[in-house]
């Protein structure tokens, strides 16, 4: 994944926050639904096309306590997984 890739949430996908900060991502075109834990919800909300994965990691570390050192790997895997499901795309930074 190139360093300046900025993941962006597919605008068609619905984030359904249910209870205790857990949520479901719903893709109306396929009918598929994916469960998200509270960290997943936090990350999803950062997928605005203006931040790199590194920026998101920094935001996560700044906002959450006890972020484990494997977080970067988890974050990359999570975003890769979302992109494989068509829930996330990439915008290349122009500058």
């Amino acid at each position: 994944m190139p360093e300046n890739d900025m993941p962006i949430a597919n605008p068609l996908v619905v984030l359904r926050e249910e209870f205790d900060d857990w949520a479901v991502l719903f893709d109306p075109d396929t009918g598929n639904a994916f469960g998200l834990n509270p960290t997943g919800v936090f990350v999803w909300k950062c997928l605005d096309g203006n931040r790199t994965v590194e920026d998101i990691l920094n935001t996560l570390q700044a906002n959450c306590e006890d972020v484990p050192k494997e977080a970067e790997q988890h974050l990359n895997d999570f975003i890769l997984n979302l992109s494989e499901q068509g829930l996330v795309g990439y915008e290349i930074r122009k500058d």
Binding site: V14, R16, E18, F19, F26, P28, G31
Partner: protein, 370 residues
Amino acid sequence: MKVIRTPRSVDLAITSRCNLRCAYCSHFGSAGDVDQDLATEEWLRFFEELSDCAVMQVILEGGEPICRQDLRQLIHGIVRNRMRFTILSNGTLITDEMAAFVAETGRCDGVQVSIDGSMPATHDACRGNGNFERTMDGIMSLSKHGVSVSVRVTIHRRNVKDLEGVARLLLEEVGLHSFSTNAASFMGLCRQHSEQVQLTMEERALAMKTLLRLRKKYNGRISATAGPLAEGKIWMEMEEARREGRPNIPGRGYLTGCGGPLNTLAVRADGVMVPCQQMSHIELGRINRDDLREVWQNHAELRRIRERRDIALSDFEFCQGCDYIPYCTGNCPALAYTLLGEENHPSPDACLRRFLEEGGRLPEEELLAC
């Protein structure tokens, strides 16, 4: 009680009208049988609120939803607002063009069509002459365009002996993956025609046995959440638990028969929000005037219906001395209301003790496995 922030799905009676008058119809003669349908713009505005609430699925029913001239516009509204939909229809008005349109949206989870018999005599007995052929044509159009079709069979006195034929028609000749069943229950017009349409105790036992046998024969391809097949399964399970002296069945012993209001909200054709189309007398507010989230999370009547899950069956005079209390759910609240005028009460309609006291017999246990 913990409740999700917004409903996962909504059940919308987009029209109160219908081209048929089935003898057992639960809609006509109920509180949902209203004079005026909402205008297109009202529904379209409401779909925006549903999207804002992240509702995933819309069930379009009625009356007969295909009666709405603006159905395509409404479906476009659902698609635009990132939702999927299902249609409940009598099938008679589904043309090739309508089926093609539904397929092209790519958002339809399926159309549930009502078929009550394997031939005109049994289907049309309650649904009116000529409707078997029309409905079958509707199913063929949907199938031709690749729309997922599910069939609901409503069992009554005139088709109870045709269940074998229905299974053969739907599962072998039409080639459906499965179908579901219910029995005409004491709601709407059925209350006026109860003697002619509702199963007697013997017919109920016959339907139960036949459906369990057919379900086994067709490897589970027949399902039910209410009516004789559902009762057969749950009653045999209750009887087994009693015989084995089990302390309880988890989740039973309380009024847990219905989880609908924890996931779904319904709207009548006049825009009044209700807990379920079958409990359309409980008015919760009006769409586009009252906030959906607020109604869903805080309406006292909705809370009252949800909290029935905390009411023990042992609290009811009706259940005193019954050996099945720790294994029973108290059944459908809507039927408890139409029969007794109270939702938070066990429904006598699906009461195992009463069935046995009236001479009903449960089918042999081998029929349960499939």
